[in-house]
């Protein structure tokens, strides 16, 4: 009789497990959140497939998300997170019984919440150091993207996944990575279509397309995680050094000019690199479409200098006074001025020192207070020729 009762009970439990799984909750009450989750329509055994009967083993086989989410799992398997032994499904999606759709504002993978989710690891300075990455969370949160997304709730602003992808995140060294040097323009261009169009036809874009790893992409100038408003004076003041990071000679010659002096004193209304050269659509002067092509100079200089004519634009904003071959007039002016300064100041500095020594310390030093001229060493008994 007793065994009959047990058998009946088992039957009911098994039937229940098969049906809705609600009876699991009589033991696992804390898993009730499943109902409200994105998986709410599934039964417990839909995921816990290894549990066939009650009582089930203490440690049932772990749930395999891949049995349903094969694409995501395959991508994750190829990703840097698997390669580094880092994140699993629940690290990002949270507790398996409360997973929400990424469209749900409460979801850990909702775009506005994603930076915080990724930041659990990528805002950890120790982890960042261990895996050799930047601690990017705080940088991102202060960036124009982070601010727009998390403060203003602007959902079109780039979140982590917008640039890095989600399950299939690859190291930027990987040629297939969305953040690989060659792929950055397309990645940013997903949203910034206008700049991408300009950039693609620019000399930088042409070089990147031709496979150059030295030519800059978006992040070389704008950074990746610290992107700020380009209209901010603070950022604009840094751009000269940014361009100069590659264009060292041009930076050096720019430094000699009034434009640079003014800029160094913190005045933003002066010509910096991109005021003349443009930025996304930058082209070499040899290209007729370039802002600094000879035919376009009067227009470019004229943006600031009213009445700039063909003669005015013969001014060279990168003239090098050390270069006697290309700038002979400037070079020899510099040589002349240096000689003039050295000879005049040198001679009269010596003159001054000698005078000082003679009048102070030498024998027959000048009388300090009123002495008649006669009797001094400049006495009238030694008249000088007229």
């Amino acid at each position: 009789m007793k065994s009959c009762t047990v058998a009946l009970l088992m039957f009911i439990v098994n039937a229940g497990l098969r049906a809705a799984g609600t009876d699991c909750l009589s033991c696992h009450a804390e898993k009730a959140s499943l109902k409200g989750s994105v998986h709410g329509s599934l039964s417990c055994r839909g995921c816990h497939a290894s549990i066939q009967s009650f009582p089930h083993p203490d440690k049932p086989t772990p749930v395999n998300c891949a049995s349903c989410h094969s694409d995501s799992a395959a991508a994750l398997g190829q990703s840097v997170h698997t390669a580094s032994g880092g994140a699993t499904c629940t690290n990002c999606h949270g507790d398996a019984h409360s997973i929400l759709s990424s469209k749900d504002p409460k979801s850990s993978t909702y775009p506005a919440n994603l930076p915080h989710t990724c930041g659990v690891c990528h805002g950890n300075a120790q982890l960042a150091k261990r895996v050799g990455l930047q601690e990017v969370y705080s940088l991102y949160m202060d960036s124009i993207h982070g601010f727009a997304l998390t403060q203003d709730g602007l959902l079109v602003a780039a979140s982590c996944a917008s640039c890095h992808g989600s399950h299939g995140i690859l190291s930027s060294k990987d040629a297939k990575s969305k953040t690989n040097h060659a792929n950055i323009p397309a990645t940013c261009g997903t949203c910034h279509a206008g700049p991408l169009k300009d950039f693609s036809s620019s000399i930088h874009g042409q070089l990147v397309a031709a496979g150059s790893e030295d030519a800059p992409v978006c992040t070389n100038c704008h950074t990746a995680h610290q992107i700020t408003k380009v209209a901010s004076v603070e950022w604009q003041m840094k751009t000269t050094a940014t361009c100069g990071g590659c264009h060292k000679d041009q930076l050096a010659t720019y430094r000699d000019t009034f434009h640079a002096q003014v800029s160094a004193l913190g005045y933003e209304q002066t010509a910096r690199c991109w005021d003349c050269h443009g930025f996304h659509d930058i082209l070499p002067a040899s290209d007729p479409k370039s802002t600094v092509a000879p035919a376009n100079l009067t227009k470019t200089c004229g943006k600031c200098h009213d009445g700039a004519n063909a003669s005015f634009v013969k001014y060279d904003p990168h003239a090098d006074s050390h270069d006697a071959v290309h700038y002979p007039a400037l070079h020899y002016s510099a040589v002349f001025m240096n000689l003039l300064l050295a000879s005049v100041l040198g001679f009269f500095a010596l003159h001054t020192i000698l005078w000082f020594v003679r009048s102070r310390f030498g024998p027959n030093a000048e009388p300090k207070e009123s002495q008649p001229t006669a009797g001094s060493d400049a006495g009238p008994e030694e008249p000088q020729p007229k």
Partner: protein, 275 residues
């Protein structure tokens, strides 16, 4: 110098003293604002520029002082031309009272060098020493070089119709270099020659009071004194002793100017050496 019993003689007219005042005020202002531009990469120059009110203010004051220096300079030139052309004051062009260099200046230079080295007697200076004339003509040279290049840059697009634009590259170069020469000259050589050397130390107040004592005239300008005694022109120059307030005024203004110059000299030199 404030000995009431001593006799005093006029050396500079009131107009000349005002001219010197305008000259050194604008010069110091130009040096101060120009220094920040010339050494704009030095951190303390950037701080200083911010303190003044940013680059806009720096450039405004630079042009402001440049304008008034130009006005003062042109008034002086017009005055000289008028006095020579209309009033026939030929003494302005040659002779002992003229600023025009003459053979005696060369002799005085070599005489002074010999005296420095104990090889001869101290030369007897007339109204103007060769260093005074260099001070004077230095202003003309400086106005020509710095003034022209400055205005060429100020009105760049206008000047480009008259001169090739590539000259604007040269303009900035010589503007800055000549400014270093001018400030180096004034803050080292002029200050020493006219104020700090032992027979004038600590300050020659003549440019502020306009007059010097008989003793100073004899000691500093023996040749002129002797000439005035011989020609009997001395009495015509006799003046009251400078009032105490005027002496003190001269000391305060002069010391301030010299200190300002020396401070700028140090700031500029440190920035120059650091590159």
């Amino acid at each position: 110098m404030e000995d009431a019993k001593a006799r005093y003689y006029v050396r500079f007219s009131l107009a000349q003293r005002y001219l010197h005042g305008a000259l050194f005020t604008t010069f110091l202002g130009l040096a101060f604002t120009g220094m920040m531009l010339r050494f704009s990469t030095a951190h303390y120059m950037q701080t200083l520029a911010k303190a003044v009110g940013g680059f806009g203010a720096v450039l405004f004051f630079h042009k402001f002082f440049a304008f008034w220096l130009t006005v003062a300079f042109l008034i002086h030139v017009a005055d000289i031309v008028y006095r020579v052309a209309a009033k026939r004051e030929w003494g302005l062009l040659y002779g002992p009272s003229s600023m025009v260099p003459r053979w005696k200046d060369i002799q005085d230079l070599f005489g002074n060098l010999k005296w420095f080295l104990h090889l001869g007697a101290k030369p007897r200076i007339d109204r103007y020493g060769y260093w005074d004339k260099l001070d004077y003509w230095g202003v003309f040279w400086g106005m020509g070089i710095i003034g022209f290049s400055g205005y060429a840059m100020w009105f760049g697009s206008f000047f480009a119709r008259l001169i090739p634009g590539s000259w604007l590259n040269i303009a900035l170069l010589i503007h800055g270099e000549e400014a270093i020469l001018a400030t180096g000259w004034i803050f080292v050589i002029h200050f020493f020659n006219t104020h700090l050397r032992s027979d004038n130390f600590p300050m020659d107040l003549t440019i502020f009071t306009g007059r010097l004592s008989e003793e100073e005239l004899q000691r500093l300008h023996p040749e002129e004194y002797e000439r005035l005694v011989k020609t009997g022109g001395l009495n015509a120059l006799a003046a009251e002793a400078p009032p105490r307030w005027l002496n003190n005024f001269g000391r305060v203004i002069g010391t301030t100017a010299v200190l300002a110059g020396v401070i700028m000299l140090i700031l500029g030199t440190v920035a120059f050496v650091r590159g």
